[in-house]
Amino acid sequence: MQCGGTSTALARRRARPVGRAVLLRCGAVETDVELLGRLRGGDEEAFVALVTRYQGSLLRVARSIVPTSAVAEEVVQDTWMGVVRGIDSFEGRSSLKTWLFRILVNRARSAGARERPTAPLDPGGPSVDPARFDGGGAWKEPVAPWTDDTDARLDAATLGPVLRAALDELPDRQRQVVTLRDVEGLSSEDACAVLGISAGNQRILLHRGRARLRTVLEPRLGRP
């Protein structure tokens, strides 16, 4: 049995009762639902598999809310405890990931958010530097299409850290929305539910966050 990246179709299918060693090597073979089922039965391997699958995402989202990595780790640990205790309250109406994020965000907020709770949602203003436009609102300089060999340029060693740093510097709410939507791939409905914000606010925050990240990438991907 192949365990490489080409076996995704296989991975998406329900796992048949193949040998345990195979399951461990090909973690993706088991769906979330299957792992949850085993976790309900107190299966430690299922717990480890879920932790392996979601720890990175949980830490990243936690870090987008709380001020330090240490607090983020505590919050994530607390989240896993909540998962083990509350597993029977998961009804499968949302994806497991969204459910995990909801538990996480609640705990992260009570653990101490970066921001003051009364911080304004957004300062407003344009998402693109007004100096880029002339008096009639047209671009002063042509906007250069980005090189299409971004694959070559996005080796993890270069753009990865740049984007991580840029994300970290976004205003809190923008960072949270961009992390959930564009890094973790949640739908707008799920992101709104996880963060408890309106669709309109979510869109504004996403808009500003993406525009800011584009600005950071521009000098690296624009034509030389």
């Binding site: 480890v48 205790r85 693109v128 609102g137 250069a144 869109r203 990438l217």
Partner: protein, 103 residues
């Protein structure tokens, strides 16, 4: 340069509609105006494409790998949580109940 009609968007307005456009949140009329602007404006078309590339690149930011030590710590904790409950009953493991789990 053709005369600007009142209903025409200028670039500075168009760029503020990009996310709503990508989210499918523009009204039909707004979408038509936006797309009409794009057809005549290579700059805003390039801008929209750059935003698309940005989204794709952000989506490839990998989470940092879970270090083996953190995994061991969590596994130990799991054993303790399990150990604290009688007869392997996972949801009886503590005094917190399930109350805090759903928002």
């Amino acid at each position: 340069m053709p005369r600007l009609l009142r209903r025409d968007l200028v670039c500075q307005q168009a760029v503020e509609l990009v996310t709503a456009y990508l989210e499918g949140a523009l009204s039909r009329r707004q979408r038509r105006r936006f797309e009409a602007h794009l057809r005549g404006c290579p700059n805003c078309s390039a801008y929209l494409e750059q935003i698309r590339v940005t989204i794709a690149l952000v989506g490839r930011v990998e989470p940092e790998d879970l270090d083996p030590e953190a995994r061991r710590d969590l596994t130990d904790l799991y054993r303790r949580w399990r150990g604290g409950s009688a007869g392997g009953d996972t949801h009886g493991a503590g005094d917190g109940g399930n109350g805090g789990n759903e928002p």
